[in-house]
Amino acid sequence: MEAASKQKVPLQNRLGIKGWAWAGRYKIERYLYTLHRLTGLGLFAYITLHLVANGSRLWGEGSWEGTMNFLSNPGFKVGEYLVIAAFVFHALNGGRLMLQQLGFTLGKPKPPVYPYVDAMRRRRSLMWAVLVIIVGLAIYVLVKFAM
């Protein structure tokens, strides 16, 4: 009974925020986890700024045009590109996580024949495919922005 109740307590996150930068001998998926959180927080910061900018239209055309002129400087253009790149990464990596967590990428059960292939390695091809699409889209958007 006591053992069962102890099992319900989640493990302590001993590394804390440091685990985002380096978590021991983890593979690339761990760093995609960190990037997923960082892009999420970045998009959260952008949404806040976007709401403030959009709110300027409540004060009429002059206020809106003034805000748009202020946001048209090159610094904000770079920020705008980073937001779209972050959105692309967060969306596609999130899609990969959903497929994995809902069990769609587990594959058919196989007998454990040596050399064993663990679940993470079996899913690695999907991870690389998603990364290639992310990089491709990020380059495409960069070219569109530069033109």
């Binding site: 999420g40 709401l51 709110g55 239209r57 409540l58 809106w64 569109k144």
Partner: protein
């Protein structure tokens, strides 16, 4: 609401945001013309279709953002009482900002 329900809602809102924000980005950043001009903004703001899209983006976006933020905070193994405080802070703060955010398209419509 159990954690698994919050997670499923996180997935559903993610799929919704992907499509709604995708449309928003394609029109606002990759279309021809001047989508950020006052005339274009007013024209979109008074259209029922765009109004519905903005409301969906706000509802889905706010849930996804706040629940995502909650997930990040809870991963740091905070005590049970602090979890309650985080839940209430995010809910009250989120509703206040959501009220302001939804007022913008309603006023413009």
């Amino acid at each position: 609401m159990r954690e698994v329900h919050l997670k499923i809602l996180q997935y559903i809102t993610a799929i919704g945001i992907f499509f709604f924000v995708g449309v928003h980005l394609l029109v606002s950043h990759f279309s021809s013309g001047d989508p950020e001009s006052w005339t274009s903004v007013v024209s979109r703001a008074t259209s029922s279709g765009w109004f519905a899209l903005y409301i969906f983006i706000l509802v889905f976006g706010f849930y996804h953002t706040l629940n995502g933020l909650r997930t990040i905070i809870l991963e740091f193994s905070i005590p049970q009482r602090a979890i309650k405080a985080v839940d209430w802070t995010l809910m009250i703060g989120g509703l206040a900002v959501f009220g302001y955010a939804i007022y913008i398209p309603i006023k413009a419509f």
